[in-house]
């Protein structure tokens, strides 16, 4: 076991723990905190995968924006004042479906010999990513900007209070 693997297992454990925390925690604030843990751990994974750029994006977007947004939303919806939402009778089926999917996908990926498979993690240069993003992938980039505008517009319109509210 190389040191990389050790780090991997550690980070992976954090990811799983965080994720499990999100889905099982009774208190929603705890869930949110676990989410931050999981997201940060994933960012660490990205670094392991030599995708530092994405790790940064991850930390900035999720660690910053998304979690803050979620916490804000929870405060706005005063989740504390409400009785803890029970998890319904669907839980066993949920578990069943999730486990079935987990097993299936695990078997699938482990049974697959991906073509050109190597154990080497290739370092992808920062600048080549940015190059690609603004040349080859310029169009999705543009469209993504429209998506963001739509989301922004939608969020504002829907969230803002109207007269008489």
């Amino acid at each position: 076991m190389t040191y990389e693997e050790v780090i991997f297992y550690f980070v992976a454990a954090l990811v799983i723990a965080g994720a499990l925390g999100v889905v099982v925690a009774k208190n929603i604030i705890h869930s949110a905190l676990f989410l931050i843990l999981a997201l940060m751990a994933v960012a660490a994974l990205f670094i392991l995968l030599a995708a530092e750029f994405l790790a940064i994006v991850q930390v900035m977007v999720y660690g910053g924006a998304v979690t803050i947004l979620i916490l804000f939303a929870m405060m706005l919806t005063r989740v504390r004042d409400l009785p803890a939402p029970r998890d319904g009778a669907q839980k066993p089926f949920a578990a069943l479906a999730a486990i079935a999917f987990g097993i299936t996908s695990t078997i699938a990926v482990t049974s697959t010999q991906f073509p050109g498979e190597s154990d080497k993690i290739n370092v992808i240069a920062f600048d080549s990513v940015s190059d690609a993003l603004f040349t080859v992938w310029a169009l999705p980039f543009e469209i993504a900007s429209l998506v963001l505008i739509v989301a922004l517009m939608g969020a504002i319109i829907l969230a803002r209070g109207e007269e008489g509210e």
Binding site: A51, V61, I70, G102, A151
Partner: protein, 102 residues
């Protein structure tokens, strides 16, 4: 060297956990968080494939960037809708939003 399967298995486990969260939890915000977990799994997958198998085109990296962007936007929009739900009926519990059925 970390075998590629480590990442892929992790991703599938993470995806399953997220899936469980969506299916089992009742709070809209929690469901949203679970979806985020699933999208994280997707990102891990993309990056893994890009890093191990596709260093020339690294489409996976690009894809992961967009996934993250979209996920963020999604959270923003979804929270706005949840907020609207809460304003209208004082609950964030998706179970109780069953005005329309059958």
């Amino acid at each position: 060297m970390i075998p590629i399967n480590n990442f892929l298995v992790l991703s599938s486990v993470l995806f399953s956990i997220g899936m469980y969260g969506v299916l089992a939890r009742r709070n809209a915000v929690l469901i949203l968080m679970s979806v985020e977990l699933m999208l994280q799994a997707v990102s891990i997958n993309f990056i893994t494939f890009a890093a191990y198998l596709d260093p020339e085109n690294f489409t996976g990296i690009i894809f992961a960037v967009f996934v993250i962007v979209i996920a963020a936007a999604e959270v923003g929009l979804a929270l706005a809708i949840v907020l609207r739900l809460f304003r209208n009926r004082q609950t964030a519990n998706v179970d109780e939003a069953d005005l329309m059925k059958w």
